[in-house]
Amino acid sequence: MSDLTESLAPPHAARSPLVIGTPVVSFEPRAPRSRTYRPDTVVDGWSTGRLAVRGGSVRGYQHRHDGTPRQDDFAIAAHEGTGAVVVAVADGVSEAELSHVGATLACRTAVDQLLRWLDEEGGAGQPDWADVLRCASWALVEFAKAQPGGDTDTDTDNGTEAERAERLLATTLVAAVVLPGEDGTATVTSARAGDSTAWLLTGPDWAELFGGPAGELLDPAVHALPRLPAEIAGVPAVLPAGGVLLVGTDGVGGPVGEGRGPVGAALAAGLESPPSPLDLGYLLDFSRETFDDDRTLVAVWPLREADPG
């Protein structure tokens, strides 16, 4: 396999990846080993008239090289009654065999639960974030129950099934609800489990919504669903006119750092206004040595009412 893949030119070499610093070596990606279909790259984008949304998820260079599926995912939805946009981003834990499925389940369940909350409460106050994350966790447990290989004697034991879900499907999750406000602003509430995160980007300035000092060493160990932090609180924020909410995985957060390097600058420039979804995918797929993790980013811009977005 390596002879074949390494003898091929990079795919569609007419457009090389955006190189930032030293590029990753060039190679033809390997097919992902997954029984469920898992595209290498997903992009999406639309506008509600008050908010513009773009999302992209690209398989990391290491996973392309190894033939591992993209373990990141995202889901986005517009809520008609409130004009809100709901976002979820997840990063499946490499150690868990079906974590790519876990990431998808977590995102879709969280978005579904948040849309229900908007239906019921109209966006007033905060969602019950602990319940949203709990439901996303439970989707993993339900899925794990249906997978072959479980111990039939303990199939009814939820504790055992939760542990199995953790081994098979563990994933981070960060979710947000964005409500359009006056004068091109928006209000945001967000919560997470694990190291996926969110930022307010204003011009070149990146402000992370979830604080916490960076550790001394890079730590690949994360707390992930179906395990929840004991205390979960929504983080509120106001998105100023001209700003953009970014929700992403550590595949983006790592190379961005505090946002003052070339990756932060490239993304800030590319996201000054909503790019085409394909352009967001291209931007996220930048090539920079040692940054080879899956990358997922959803961006939400408040629009002035007359702005067609």
């Binding site: 439970w138 989707a139 001394e216 707390h223 003052r260």
Partner: protein, 225 residues
């Protein structure tokens, strides 16, 4: 971290150069060469690794320091000399690791917890004295950069010692007679290097809880995979 230049993993090969290793030093050198080749076949992993080789017997000699193996033509050759003082190796690592990590961070890199590949026949002359400096090196309260230690037993390896040196049971490796030692070390090391930088579930602690009850509001989203 204002600008992250890259994510790097400091890897230390700490090789027993005592005279008792004489029958296997050729295989050990072949192992290093095989490791070099194996890593070059893994370009993502190779880009992250900064490679140091320490040879130890009664003292420790630096054979290579924080090298990018993609730019090294060949690795240095190990030779045998003197006795087997594990204390010397663990003391040198306790001294060297924090300084190397500070230097890498000062250059703008984010650094993974170091990995030490400890290659030995498991017959130290300083039993049990070596266990004190080993404890200092591996205690994360004392040594913040405490490494993951992967212990590879070679030759007439004493399996008990190898298990004691490895910081996790799965990090202990004893080459079975008849295997091609160099290749075995190389494959084991590359697989571990990749697993060290891949995301993993954090150990359960009192600050987290596993969701084991179905939430009242739970509805299976209809469009799931």
């Amino acid at each position: 971290m204002t600008e992250n230049l890259g994510n790097v993993l400091p890897v230390y090969v700490v090789a027993d150069e005592s005279l008792s290793m004489s029958p296997v030093v050729g295989e050990l050198n072949a192992g290093l060469a095989a490791l070099h080749r194996a890593l070059l076949r893994e370009p993502m992993a190779a880009a992250k690794v900064r490679f140091t080789i320490l040879g130890f017997s009664d003292d420790v000699q630096v054979r290579l320091s924080l090298a990018d193996l993609r730019t090294e033509e060949a690795l240095p050759t190990l030779t045998t000399r003197g006795g087997t003082r594990y204390s010397a190796a663990f003391e040198a690592l306790t001294d060297q690791l924090p300084r190397d990590i500070d230097a890498l961070k000062a250059s703008g890199y984010a650094v993974y917890r170091p990995a030490v590949f400890f290659l030995t026949d498991g017959q130290p002359n300083d039993e049990p004295e070596w266990r004190t400096p080993y404890g200092t090196l591996t205690d994360r309260e004392i040594t913040r950069a405490a490494p993951n230690i992967i212990a590879c037993g070679i030759g007439e390896a004493q399996a008990r010692t190898i298990v004691d040196i490895a910081t996790r049971p799965e990090f202990a490796f004893v080459a079975t007679p008849g295997t091609e030692l160099g290749l075995a070390i190389a494959e084991f090391s590359v697989a571990l290097t990749k697993s060290i930088v891949a995301s993993a579930r954090a150990a359960a602690d009192g600050k987290t809880e596993l969701v084991v009850e179905r939430p009242n509001n739970f509805v299976m989203a209809i469009d799931v995979v």
